[in-house]
Symmetry: C3
Amino acid sequence: MAGDKRRILIQLDGDKHASTFDRVVAIDAGVDELFTCQQVTPEDVAPLVHGAIFTRGVDDLKSTAIFVGGSDVSLGQKIYDTVRKTFFGPMRVSVMLDANGANTTAAAAVLSAGKHLDLSATQALVLGGTGPVGQRVARLLAGQGAKVKLASRSMDRASVAAKSINTFLQYDRITPVAVSSDAELVAALKEVDLVVAAGAAGAELLPESARKQASSLKVAIDLNAVPPAGIAGGDVMDKAKDRAGVITYGAIGVGGLKMKIHKASITKLFETNDLTLDAEEIYAIGKTLI
Amino acid sequence: MAGDKRRILIQLDGDKHASTFDRVVAIDAGVDELFTCQQVTPEDVAPLVHGAIFTRGVDDLKSTAIFVGGSDVSLGQKIYDTVRKTFFGPMRVSVMLDANGANTTAAAAVLSAGKHLDLSATQALVLGGTGPVGQRVARLLAGQGAKVKLASRSMDRASVAAKSINTFLQYDRITPVAVSSDAELVAALKEVDLVVAAGAAGAELLPESARKQASSLKVAIDLNAVPPAGIAGGDVMDKAKDRAGVITYGAIGVGGLKMKIHKASITKLFETNDLTLDAEEIYAIGKTLI
Amino acid sequence: MAGDKRRILIQLDGDKHASTFDRVVAIDAGVDELFTCQQVTPEDVAPLVHGAIFTRGVDDLKSTAIFVGGSDVSLGQKIYDTVRKTFFGPMRVSVMLDANGANTTAAAAVLSAGKHLDLSATQALVLGGTGPVGQRVARLLAGQGAKVKLASRSMDRASVAAKSINTFLQYDRITPVAVSSDAELVAALKEVDLVVAAGAAGAELLPESARKQASSLKVAIDLNAVPPAGIAGGDVMDKAKDRAGVITYGAIGVGGLKMKIHKASITKLFETNDLTLDAEEIYAIGKTLI
């Protein structure tokens, strides 16, 4: 009987040591057996997937699933793509991509913003928008109908990222902006309802001076957990905290929802054998939780 | 109480990533805890075995076992031999060798043949007979009393393999044959009841032209799962299918029985602490399943 | 509810293959999920610890713990120190150091001696005293009030080790002695009640000739499991065996208690989230078992 099979999650991780974070969450999400594979490259993927799809009957394949993690999101994306290419016909298992927590973090950030804003009528600015989390935040916001300025210090990189997401979404809601000075930041913030800072740890993306001039700002979300803050004046623990009329979230304030989404997504993997959970699917799962 | 101990299987695998196939089968065979060790060399074996034999009381040692896998059968054989040499007196656990699935595949092939033939009165031809699966097929057939022609394109390699198996079995039922041309193939097929193709993927070992002249042939088993077929005219899904009077099996047709044998062998490991499961023992377990 | 969380043990091991010994003991001590990390360096530690402390609520952190093993005790010590430095405030889990079994072995040896001697009034000689087990035996004996001669063939190394332990304990009960000849051994044994041999495998630390002149000796403990014996005339199986008036223990004679201490310590890790189990704490746990 299908229901008798233990739930096996195959963790594919490119790092030297597979994430213990992802391992604990998998266990707490009800996985029975976790098969950890680390230092995984796209070339390693096929036999690892074959072991998943050739061992159990088709009716039992929903009790096996694959999680792609690791700190390198671009490598994770390649592994995830290779996993899906290795499937054929009904010979497939559900698979989730959450390298560096990028998908669950972006989903939690956008869902947090959506508690306070009508996203379809929102003008958003994503700072650190070319990074793995930033790109996913921009993509999810645009997917909800928001107009998004994707910001980077480099206009070239911002343009490449914006174009890539617009192509992916097949509509044109993302505009690249360069923000290498306070003046550019203030200009970028004009008419913006929502700002999300998704840069690398250690960089202050929105200083106090510029922030004070963001008169239209309603919601500010800072995904940086390590000092200094990505958005000056906030706190990592902020969770819908009113700071001078702006609802602010810090990384830990968003973290509780992120964790719920991560767990719910893992649990969901075992409902059928054909789920492919990337940013949008993980966002949709998150939406059912709030 | 002995019965309270969780069943631990220590998987020794020489590959970069231990086989997920073997991992899933172990779990589905009732293993409680799988300790996966990969990139294992014979030099690594002793302390890994010591951890198995020095941790539980002698009465509980049957709840720990070792599985030797990996894609390299010759390396697996060395690891298996080293494991057994590391045991002493009652300080031992059951151990199974199934690198690259060679033992379970060979056992399933010979058991499938035995459903249709009296093996003790069979004349068999094993194509790709010098490979790891081919040698085991020849060995098991000879062990059941069959006369076996072990075929290779190289007479030298066929002779070495045939001699090695005859020495192992202590009787002389295996004859080397060279089959580098259609004419040699036709000659080799003379009076043959059973042909098994066990070559590397991608090689057609028995073309249509030669096969048609095999007038005595009753059973044909092709263990190659990847096109082109090892035996022309068959299909990978064939399972005792009558093709012009010849009962044919393809790799997947044999695969169901192979999987049953694999699982039953793993389960068997935990009945006592002194089993050593190589080709013959695995064949004997398979015999109880059909 | 906290009680619902599965008990996760994160095994940090510097060897190529993490110890299967430690893995089996963890399972038999009631660990539900073992996360094995091998080839661990101190530089790898922080993210592995973050995964332990950032995934479960503070009330549930007691269901996650860390075990530091591996054959290199000095590396294990560095990993253990780094683990503890990575914790902050309530964000911590219990952690145990038992690289190469040094702490549990030393605890078992000293507890065995304490069954026959008032340790606070004991004069002890630790042969192989500069090794990882020897240093811990000396440290535990001194901690119980014994006067300890820490012996090595090199006076320099003995002095360094003795000074380091005296500094650690903040009193001055350990004296270095050089024992490179029989005469020096005999002199070192003068007025000694207890001798513990904790040298590397293969070295006879106390030959028959010197041992016979140890007229005050009451207890002899040899922790070497591999022939030749570290203390001539004993047997690896000795367990409080009277040999010419001297109560003797061999490595296996001490091993049963060592194993009990190891298991009890692992179990203890899951009672609160703030235990740090090094030699003294493990000794204290052992004391409750005898």
